[in-house]
């Protein structure tokens, strides 16, 4: 029973991650980043930070695309590129595997198995490069947060790293 609930939720929610205490902000932890001032960040995936007011407004949010710089036009998939997937695997070992397994088993965050079937490629890339605003808006991510209770950290992936990780996820899902 328990296992099927987790499976169902992870199918719905998909993803990766996790997070924490949601927009309600019941804690004083430092992981609640959504109240930050506009950043002048050196985040490789540079993009305008959502303003605090707009974060709570789900009407502007596209759950298929997520929020970030990626969309159908700039994320194109071909046949599996094994070299890219290898690079993605190495990056994941440093930055992702602390919380995610490659199976469907939850660790801190959900397992990766099947994620590329459940989510669009550009949604995945937006989320892994821009997690905070999406956790605050995406209904499925918020549901996931209630399970994991830790917000997925922004691991400062640059565009190329994110793309390599996507390729590794596809390989993990046995895309040819």
């Amino acid at each position: 029973m328990k296992k099927s609930i987790i499976t169902t939720l992870s199918l719905m929610a998909t993803i990766l991650i996790i997070g924490s205490c949601g927009g309600g902000g019941s804690t004083s932890e430092k992981s609640t980043n959504e109240t930050e001032q506009p950043e002048t960040t050196q985040t490789p995936s540079e993009q305008p930070e959502a303003k605090p007011e707009s974060k709570a407004d789900p009407s502007t949010y596209d759950p298929k695309r997520g929020e970030g710089k990626f969309n159908e036009s700039n994320v194109k998939l071909g046949a599996l590129d094994a070299a890219m997937a290898d690079k993605g695997k190495a990056i994941a070992a440093t930055k992702c595997n602390s919380c995610h397994k490659q199976t469907d088993e939850k660790l801190v965050g959900p397992g990766w198995k099947g994620v590329t079937h459940r989510k669009t490629p550009h949604w995945i890339m937006n989320f892994i490069t821009n997690p905070d605003p999406m956790i605050s808006k995406d209904p499925e991510l918020q549901a996931q947060l209630e399970i994991c209770l830790v917000r997925m950290p922004n691991q400062n992936l640059n565009d190329e790293e994110a793309r390599n990780i996507l390729e590794y996820m596809r390989q993990n899902d046995e895309v040819k």
């Binding site: 924490s20 205490c21 804690t27 932890e29 430092k30 992981s31 980043n33 109240t35 001032q37 950043e39 002048t40 960040t41 050196q42 070992a93 440093t94 930055k95 595997n97 602390s98 919380c99 397994k101 088993e105 939850k106 660790l107 801190v108 209770l149 830790v150 917000r151 950290p153 922004n154 691991q155 400062n156 992936l157």
Partner: protein, 656 residues
């Protein structure tokens, strides 16, 4: 009715008696808009970063102006358990000296690096007064990047003042001492054997790295403060000194005999030439040079063994003494570089010297008949522009607003006095509470002051704050100087004993802040590049734990096979790559401190277990909703145990 009157009457008496023991005007007149001028609404930023010396705490504190909010305490010369500074293996070398590790100093003055006479926001330099040292703090990380010990010195007080492009930061000794080469002399031979050395420390333009370029050997006076020339006087440096009596006992009497002491004027470009021509003497000495490397996250301490010294008694055209009444503290150069303001702390006036007149006096040899320690003494009137009469009692230090006005702190009469540099007329005075030392106007030492605020750093605060036992809060007071009259806006407490401070517009450094250390650039020799690499390795009686941390667990979190007396090194790599997510690491019984590891960084805690048992370890910095779960155990077995090292790797940590 009667009782009301009585109460009012009593209150009046109480109020009068409190007032009567304070300097005049203590019940300060705060105008109605003071609160709005210092109020920074939640979520908004201050206008200025204010870097304030932490005095005998040995640290540098950072406040926001105008709110007076404490933003950060940067550990410099003193160990700091909050940040593991001086406790983790990587930072221990920063506190090394030729005397071994000295985990404390007395930090007095603050100088920001400059380009073209304006603060450029790269580095902050501070001095250690006790075991003479200079430190450089990197303003990208707000961390101490370098500490340099100084040879031939006994108290690095007249420091760290810099030239208009930070060509040099100076460090001159307050306590004259015999040279390090021949130190064992009778104290009674002070006059012949004790000398005051001035170190010219060069600063690399790109890296900021400091180097003792040369030292000037001066008579055994006590150097107090200093200022570089700027603009027209660029190339010159001015040092205040007292104890020209060359006394070595009962200084409070014996060093205050003469009517005038000196400001020493140094033509440092000329000194540079002499050094290039080989006129200095190389001397064997020993002093430490400590550098923190941001890619290995590790400090190295090296011993330097040589310094080049130029004796001012045998030089032509480098050094001149200007008589200055009486035990001068500040010798401050105005934004134009023309006026040098001497502040004799026992004097009843403020002498203002003119750089042009000084040059003329030198050219025309308007010297006293007798040299002092081989250095020509310029006639007082020949260098004097004029005197500010009856400014107050105990003038200490002067800052400038860039609009032709000077502001001088009065230690004895506890006030700030504003006066006009051209006509030397006193324009305004404002009380301080109490015994003000240094003043600070943002950019007030540069060519372009931001003359909007002035901060007074006070020694005494009786009755300003809720009492806290015998010792009260140290304090700073913020004044609005944008109008004709100074207006007190705010009192705020400080750490240590505040001495000098500097401030810079927030916009000049806010956006340069490092947010993380890139995990891919981490070159620490014990880095763990992801949980799959976490491991525990025994090498004799040393046990190296390659550990990772991320919200909200360590790998490994269970370790067995450690024995009593082992040297266990926890090399913890923080795998986070997100701003402001440090993790901590503490373990029961560790007799140093904790680690506080920034995102992408590796740090090492050394622990020698002293008994058999199970030792919990945990993260000390609240990091997520599951922070409490970020913990683990080390099992310690008896000395002769043959239990092998085991640990749970990431492959075994999956929660089923």
């Amino acid at each position: 009715m009667i009782s009301n009157k009585l109460i009012v009457g009593l209150l009046f008496v109480v109020a009068m008696s409190i007032t009567s023991c304070k300097p005049k005007g203590t019940t300060s007149v705060i105008s109605g808009d003071a609160a709005t001028k210092v109020y920074v609404p939640p979520g908004q930023y201050d206008e200025f970063y204010n870097f304030v010396s932490g005095g005998f705490s040995g640290q540098l504190s950072v406040y926001g102006i105008p709110s007076g909010r404490l933003l950060r305490v940067i550990p410099v010369f003193s160990s700091d358990p909050e940040k593991g500074w001086g406790f983790n293996e990587e930072t221990k070398p920063m506190l090394n000296t030729s005397h071994g590790i000295v985990p404390w100093d007395d930090l007095h003055h603050v100088e920001m690096s400059q380009t073209n006479g304006e603060a450029d926001g790269k580095w902050v330099f501070v001095n250690g007064n006790n075991t003479p040292r200079l430190a450089r703090i990197d303003l990208k990380t707000f961390r101490t990047a370098e500490i340099l010990e100084l040879p031939n010195s006994g108290g690095n007080h007249s420091s760290p003042f810099g030239t208009e492009n930070s060509e040099y930061i100076v460090a001159s000794t307050r306590f004259s001492v015999p040279s390090d080469a021949n130190p064992d002399v009778p104290i009674s031979t002070y006059k012949e054997n004790f000398k005051g050395h001035i170190s010219f420390v060069s600063v690399d333009k790109e890296t900021g790295e400091m180097k003792v370029a040369f030292q000037l050997k001066a008579p055994g006076v006590n150097f107090d403060l200093a200022r570089a020339g700027k603009g027209k006087s660029h190339g010159w440096f001015f040092f205040s000194c007292y104890n020209t009596e060359l006394a070595n006992t009962l200084l409070e009497v014996n060093a205050s005999q003469k009517d005038k002491d000196f400001i020493l004027a140094i033509n440092w470009k000329k000194a540079e030439e002499y050094i290039k021509e080989g006129k200095g003497t190389k001397q064997a000495v020993k002093y430490s040079h400590n550098k923190y490397d941001e890619t290995t996250h590790t400090a190295k301490s090296e011993m330097e063994t040589e310094v080049t010294v130029l004796d001012l008694a045998n030089t032509e055209g480098i050094a001149y003494l200007i008589p200055c009444p009486k035990s001068p503290h500040g010798c401050d150069v105005d934004p134009t570089g023309e006026y040098i303001i001497g502040s004799g702390k026992l004097a009843a006036l403020i002498p203002v010297f003119s750089f042009d007149k000084l040059q003329k006096a030198i050219a025309e040899k308007k010297f006293e008949t007798e040299k002092f320690g081989g250095i020509p003494v310029i006639k007082y009137e020949a260098a004097l522009y004029g005197e500010v009469q009856k400014p107050g009692l105990g003038p200490l230090h002067t800052e400038f607003d860039g609009k032709g006005n000077a502001y001088t702190s009065m230690f004895v009469s506890s006030e700030v006095v504003k006066w006009n540099i051209k006509d030397l007329k006193v324009l305004d005075r404002a009380p301080t509470y109490y015994s003000v030392g240094h003043l600070m106007i943002p950019g007030g030492n540069t060519k372009k002051p931001f003359g909007k605020y002035l901060v007074a750093y006070n020694k005494i605060t009786k009755d300003r704050y809720l009492p806290t036992g015998p010792e009260l809060a140290q304090s700073a007071q913020l004044y609005d100087i944008s109008g004709d009259k100074m207006k007190l806006l705010l009192d705020f407490p400080t750490i240590g004993e505040p001495h000098y401070a500097q401030a810079i517009p927030a916009a000049l450094i806010k956006d340069k802040q490092a947010k993380i250390f890139d995990i891919n650039s981490n070159k620490h020799q014990y880095k763990t590049n992801g949980e799959e690499d976490a491991k525990v390795v025994r090498e004799g009686n040393a046990v190296h734990v390659y550990m990772t941390s991320i919200r909200s667990h360590f790998v490994p979190d269970n370790i067995e096979g450690v024995k009593v007396g082992d040297e266990v090194f926890f090399h913890v790599t923080n795998l986070e790559q997100d701003w402001d997510v440090p993790h901590g690491f503490g373990i029961k019984g560790a007799n140093n401190a904790e680690l506080l590891i920034m995102p992408g960084e590796t740090l090492t805690l050394k622990w020698i277990p002293d008994r058999v048992g199970i030792f919990p370890m945990y993260c000390t910095d609240f990091c997520s909703a599951l922070h409490q779960e970020m913990s683990g155990y080390v099992r310690v077995s008896p000395k002769g145990s043959t239990l092998p090292i085991t640990f749970n790797s990431s492959k075994k940590t999956a929660a089923k």
